[in-house]
Symmetry: C3
Subunit: 553 residues, 3 copies
Amino acid sequence: MTKKIVLVLAMLSCLALAGTARAQAPAPDPAAAAPAAPAAAAVAITDADLKAAVKPTDRANGDPDGSLTGTANDIAISDAKAGLTVADVLNQIGANRIGVNFAWTLLCGFLIMFMQAGFAVVEAGLCRAKNANHTMMMNFMVYGVGMLAYFLIGFPLQMGGAGAIANLGGTPVLNSEFVIHLFGKDIGLFGNTGYLLMHHGTYDVAVMVIFLFQMVFMDTTTTIVTGTCCERWKYSAFMVSTMFLGAFTYPIFANWAWGGGWLAMLGANFGLGHGYADFAGSGVVHSVGGITALACALILGPRIGKYTRDGKPNPIPGHDIMWVLCGCFILAFGWFGFNPGSTLAMSGNGGLRAASVAVNTMLAGMTGSFGGILYMWIRYGKPDASMSGNAFLAGLVAITAPSGFVNPVASAIIGLIAGVLVCLSCEFVERVLKVDDPVGAISVHGTNGIWGVLATGLFADGRSNYGGSWNGVAGNVTGLFYGDAGQFVAQLMGVATLVGFVFVMSYVINLFIDWFVGQRVSAKSELAGLDVPEMGAVAYPDFVLKPEPALAS
Amino acid sequence: MTKKIVLVLAMLSCLALAGTARAQAPAPDPAAAAPAAPAAAAVAITDADLKAAVKPTDRANGDPDGSLTGTANDIAISDAKAGLTVADVLNQIGANRIGVNFAWTLLCGFLIMFMQAGFAVVEAGLCRAKNANHTMMMNFMVYGVGMLAYFLIGFPLQMGGAGAIANLGGTPVLNSEFVIHLFGKDIGLFGNTGYLLMHHGTYDVAVMVIFLFQMVFMDTTTTIVTGTCCERWKYSAFMVSTMFLGAFTYPIFANWAWGGGWLAMLGANFGLGHGYADFAGSGVVHSVGGITALACALILGPRIGKYTRDGKPNPIPGHDIMWVLCGCFILAFGWFGFNPGSTLAMSGNGGLRAASVAVNTMLAGMTGSFGGILYMWIRYGKPDASMSGNAFLAGLVAITAPSGFVNPVASAIIGLIAGVLVCLSCEFVERVLKVDDPVGAISVHGTNGIWGVLATGLFADGRSNYGGSWNGVAGNVTGLFYGDAGQFVAQLMGVATLVGFVFVMSYVINLFIDWFVGQRVSAKSELAGLDVPEMGAVAYPDFVLKPEPALAS
Amino acid sequence: MTKKIVLVLAMLSCLALAGTARAQAPAPDPAAAAPAAPAAAAVAITDADLKAAVKPTDRANGDPDGSLTGTANDIAISDAKAGLTVADVLNQIGANRIGVNFAWTLLCGFLIMFMQAGFAVVEAGLCRAKNANHTMMMNFMVYGVGMLAYFLIGFPLQMGGAGAIANLGGTPVLNSEFVIHLFGKDIGLFGNTGYLLMHHGTYDVAVMVIFLFQMVFMDTTTTIVTGTCCERWKYSAFMVSTMFLGAFTYPIFANWAWGGGWLAMLGANFGLGHGYADFAGSGVVHSVGGITALACALILGPRIGKYTRDGKPNPIPGHDIMWVLCGCFILAFGWFGFNPGSTLAMSGNGGLRAASVAVNTMLAGMTGSFGGILYMWIRYGKPDASMSGNAFLAGLVAITAPSGFVNPVASAIIGLIAGVLVCLSCEFVERVLKVDDPVGAISVHGTNGIWGVLATGLFADGRSNYGGSWNGVAGNVTGLFYGDAGQFVAQLMGVATLVGFVFVMSYVINLFIDWFVGQRVSAKSELAGLDVPEMGAVAYPDFVLKPEPALAS
């Protein structure tokens, strides 16, 4: 039985019948019913009106303005014999929605991947020329090493129990979360399916989107550590350490926050707001990275010459400001994938809010750079390129968690505070903790990541609604300043977990690696620069480099 | 009351009724009506046919080819009890349209933002190593400074009266344009709502898209000036000057051209074609930037050593050709956001024409680079990297206004002329005007921006139709060569405004800044290079630099 | 006659009638039919229910969460007087589909264009500082030169007979393939329409998308050659050679593989699987580039000093490892356009499979970099930056053809083999063939392009379905390991054509160019570095360079 143009016919028939049906009523509403009344006119719509709209034959002369392309003719027909059916129309609508969301999420994921380039050149630019090859090669391989660990172990741990994600057409196969029962509730600890993207039906297009998007988030975390540890980290130790971070530390915390684990469920289980809310990962990505960087830096110790005998820090300037600031732009570009892309949608469930997320992100980066440049200008008499870059990044880090929940003015405030905070934190880490962080990653990502998590609990204005039940709690995420103290408590518990669990886990793992393979290069290698002893080649063989300046001792 | 699968049932009922209704007619058309006749078959479609298309249960084994993802199941249901309703279906269609358009416009906006990196490294690469940090830091902060000015003042001035933009779902809150009455018409001068993206309902997702997209355009303008003024501009003066440009000069002209102001209305009000037509801003962005750069350069004067005592120019080569050409590629990449993204749409109102815009853009860049390389090769005996890069950019600048209205061959011609024109203009500026423009921005953006505005009035072929009423005038934009002299007059009025108003405004503002904070660094700072006196650090501390060559005096 | 909200009325009428119709049955299902029964209630839905969903008036206060934006109100109405019609709704659905696909394909095309920057800096970074300007300028102009040739001749040859591409709304104007009749079949040899994107109706938005996307593929091919030939290629010869490659060599093979030519038809015509299957161009793009590079390198001969008198190779390290690895990241970023974008769709015909393609791509790059770094580490005692980068690229090259047809684990295996293979191939080319390839492009693109073509014929798992008839053969592409030996034979025929036809054609053309303009610069120029004699300027005028080290002779 042919169902050709069944939809149109059905509707037209309805029109005709509507006329008939309403005629039985004593006085049909003339405004509404009259136009539809004559059956002949209705039939004319099918063969004249609809066809008039689409004219496929006109395409023979091309379509310079696009008016003949993208019409009813382009609805996919599942059965050529039957022609266009109701099912085809509805399926195409669903396909369009998921198509938009896939395209958006994947393209944003690509932007995030490109942040690897930004981190690489910022970090290498901030180290000395004699370590540039080594720093670049850590950043280059961190992408591969992290991905391998995540492909084998990390992704299943993080997302194996994430459940069906409606914006991407559903991922029902990610249905295995390991839970324990505590206080009468299910407490999710880690996921347990999706190994190799093959088992248990995870060879699935929607799972692939999730994997790609989550993979690049994880890799961002691992790349933060290479910055803090550069100029003295043994390459083999770096690879092992990154593997643990990508396989275990990151995925476990990410499961708790994003994969259906217990932090996310603090709201549904214990009434603390919407549970730990971290839109795009100030805590999950940046704090985990910054805190792991701190743990590693404590184990590695400072670079030779960084501190004088009585503990005063020597400045060791980065070797190329072009790369540093160019890298900041690359990172800002990628951040437009990082934050707005975290809606995982453009069509449905508040996906359009991504526009607000994008503007919040750019505003906080802007005020961050202002906070940093003004702080340095006032305190040291001159604007400083490295700190301006770091303050810009600090603003972006700080807005990452709240970007989905706050308004533009709050974003500007959060970024401004971040820009000043990163300067204070850098001074504190360098002078009080006496931890050597060549690129400032602990302050940029660790300190400001925590600030971002807290800022969410303060500034969330209850005006965003992603399908109406964030972390399974109805209503909109609302911070302390807008009346929900429980949300702020949930954020505090997230911070406590970062400091209490992630730091300890990272410290223990890296202590073990130190014992097992040794974390630090020899003093001889360090003084010579790591490029030749570790990588076998200098970064700039054709350029004459200056002899290293004497550092105060 | 449950409305579960009400749409499908309705249609199926129609089928059944259609059979009944047509049976009353003497002889129903057998080809059309017969298949729909038996009610049983129709019912079968609901429960069998539609379900056959979507099989949600099959997802349990994954969906490697994507055939089970993106179906009727993915239409968002507003009320789970009611099930899928007609309203749901229609809303999803609208959501898909706006979702595509948001995604397209935002992603293009992100690409444009990345142009900041391109401008930064092109300009820094074209200056000397001793000024690289300073030039990079101007380009780095220009993004923040411009954005701050635009967030506070510029955006409301430019877009506060832009009205509802249908492609983005409407922005009815941007409804306040300040107008004066002249010649019996409303003459729009500036907008007046949207302050801080909060007041008067502008905390709105569609307004956010507009803000982001317009912000990156404005920032492109400001970054042009830093190129011309590099190697001698005081950092504080740069910040103040940029703030004025982002807050006033740019937004006012942009309001006139794009925000509903009087230039855009020249067609509707006075019958001059479609009014001033500038698709993506050859005039609004590039000419405003280039003309402001000229005004600033006149105030700053040439670099020490640029001219001999008798006025002959000395060549001062840029310090890194890698950055210059890499930056050109970054700019070309971003231009694919700049021009095609200016449709603000992919679905509806001629959005698909973005494909044509993209091809026009790449063709003009190509012929531009050819025009420049051949001119230099023939005139000076060798191809020249810097001028090839500038000629490439000149082609892109020139096609920016016409890209939405001309055909591929016209684009190639426009670009070719631009590539030669930029060489001639550089020679003219350097030798006749004796204005020192280290990067050629006046010629690339100023001269070729004007050429682009005029080329629109010449080559627009009347084949593009963005919803049918560009600037409120029915029909397609058509240039002089295709018969509409009025359009060319409107373009000339745009150029006159750029030269007569923007130049004067920029000159006066920057003269005031010169008086107030002083525009130029001391001769001592300039000779030493601005990096240490202004920024406190050299760009390349580890590299040995050559002593500066003696310039003819 | 006004058709205002005719669709909704029609459906509502159906509801009413459905009630009536079912009333004739003895006991209508109360859950389904009862609510719809009273006509009044149905009308209420129109004016209340639908309106309740869209509330346009609420926009006056802004829409921070996007819930009021993107609704039934945003369906484009073709005739304001008639209001929303069935045709409007169906057209909007089609417009949404094509809009998504245009946006996806164009944005992916932009990413691919940006690969030009990646190739440029990788190649320039791998050459010596004295040739950096020349190498950059080849890479810069290769984009223009290739595009010019393709605009004039190449595109029509390649795609003139490609037929209607449904994912982009159809391109019926590309309907002219030159065929010969052989073995009773039509054997397509080249296309023949689309000149200047104007003639025969090719001034068409969908043709523009195809042109842009195919142009950037072609340009990738041409940029491969500049790497192998750098440091000794005469600039004029490079331009002529690139023009031939972009006008003839590439387009002809690409026509055979992708434009409807005979290789693609091996399945439909001769039952060999689905014909030559090359999803995104391991063969079409990378092998053609690598094989042409080999042909040119044979003609050019090795650089002075590369080999000692008794044929032992001297290592000549690249001058800047920052650029090399940064360029690899840029290329990896662009590759996310290259492979996933080759679906040309997100909505319909398996477009969602792009997600799987993206993950396959990243996995193969990852395992490739592992293969290379471990091979070098084990064989030479240290990880090597240049080879790690090349191995990463080799993995990406190898997955390019199979990415659309294989699963994640197979992708990882293909990449791992590629990473080792590129090291072996580099050694073979350098030591056995004694061909000088400064950047390793012959091995990265030539060798691994062939490996990718073969891997498709081995690992394609028959789980992907792009509309169900790849190359006109029903069913899914399936490799030898999954049971289809014919597919592997088709792949072998592709490789034979690459080696037997493309190599010979490239060799003959470049031999002719050598005779006509001379391919190689003078020894004097080469020893001095090509920057001054060929380009008129050094790349780094402000930096002190080392005197060149003596090479063993």
